[in-house]
Symmetry: C2
Subunit: 250 residues, 2 copies
């Protein structure tokens, strides 16, 4: 939803189809095989809606499934990982810290993406499995969130990183806790903004921007939508007009 | 696995088929509809292996799916919730606290089970969504676990409970942290032992105990088994001989 919000703000005339796989999340603790299967099923559902571009708005799925999705789909597929890596390089930092789920960090995808862009950078990574549950529990500014952040970030600070990539779409919601540990000067790279910017560029370049004004959002979830309707609506600051439960992958 | 370990110790001659739905856990944050569907699919898989009794060794699934499973299956189905409630009543406590996942607590199933057994008890409940992630992260005796336990348990202690039901099969693994908050005198009810005892009784009563000595355990998981093989083996204190990935529900 952090990526979706950025996109809606930048492209208010476009029609968005959003799928949240709420019946099978979190992805960050699952194997790459499982996440790849789930991402493929989600992509198949969205492609059946007639989309012109697919955004994989999840770092874990971007880390393990992007290559396969690009090979099998005949529309542009944009992940959040490469835009995040490019934004990290753009900070000018030389020693980059990356935090993410076990799946994202275990895949080594950020190291590979940063190495392709700037092979002389030093990259240090840390998995932060409790961050997503803390956000889901609503303890974003709780002292426990600060304590957990201190523990996860200490090894990165010991390596004297000079920028930190928030390599999970949940983590920008913990910015206050993370900022309290890394200090006010550390650049925090949130891939939502850079991903949205790249998508706008691509749509312009390919002549894919809508000419009609649709401005509609359709939200699909795989579990019952009660919780999503409430939290998603709060997050976007508006009541969600269209939320529907769907079954995918079977 | 806390229930499975108890059962293997008490019934070493029996053959056990264990299914861990690792591709879709956790259940505690999912809707009752989703958990009910997953539990039915898991039961169908296990019944196809020719089992003589089904243990629903998860409080969330016991809370929301037991009635449906009992109606549709023609073998005995034992959940962990009723044995836990009976063990709580047996402590002689008058003001019982129950902690569990959002799914278990939201279902009201413990209140109902305790009310059926002893309508004059006072029951107070609290959902503890961060406990399962803390166990999965291995922070069982970390100061963060104690701080989270303090926060979740404070409202129950304020109600002057005199026994606490650990209404999730993960929670006995947090006993040190929980004990540090509730003190050394509070009875902690772990349904694993009481469930195992009831199963032994039932098998004896129904003449279902094995006459051969099989003593075999077959573990099935729905995600790749690497992590399960390691953690499950550590937990049972022996290398798991048979672990296989299976696809269910499709």
């Amino acid at each position: 939803m952090t990526v979706c919000r950025e996109l809606i703000q930048r492209l208010p005339a476009e029609r968005f189809y959003y799928l949240g796989d709420t019946a099978r999340v979190p992805y960050g603790t699952k194997s790459s095989e499982a996440v790849c299967q789930y991402a493929t099923e989600a992509a198949d559902f969205l492609c059946a809606q007639g989309i012109k571009l697919l955004v994989v708005a999840c770092n874990t799925a971007s880390a393990v499934a992007l290559t396969e999705l690009r090979e099998t789909l005949n529309i542009p597929v944009i992940g959040v990982l490469e835009p995040g890596a490019r934004a990290a390089v753009a900070t000018g930092a030389r020693r980059i810290g990356v935090i993410g789920t076990e799946g994202t960090i275990g895949s080594g995808s950020y190291e590979k993406a940063l190495d392709r862009l700037a092979p002389d950078l030093a990259v240090f990574t840390a998995a932060c499995p409790l961050f997503v549950p803390l956000v889901e529990e609503g303890w974003r500014e709780h002292s426990v969130a600060r304590q957990v952040a201190a523990e996860y970030l200490a090894p990165l600070l010991a390596r004297e990183i000079d920028a930190l990539v928030l390599g999970c779409t949940h983590y920008p919601l913990l910015e206050t806790a993370i900022r309290s540990i890394v200090g006010s000067e550390m650049p925090l790279v949130d891939s939502a903004a850079s991903t949205a910017a790249e998508i706008v560029d691509l749509l312009e370049k390919e002549g894919l921007l809508t000419s009609a004004v649709c401005g509609e959002q359709r939200f699909f979830v795989t579990d019952v939508p009660v919780r999503f309707r409430r939290i998603g609506g709060d997050f976007l600051g508006t009541e969600l007009q269209f939320v529907e439960r769907v079954h995918i992958g079977c």
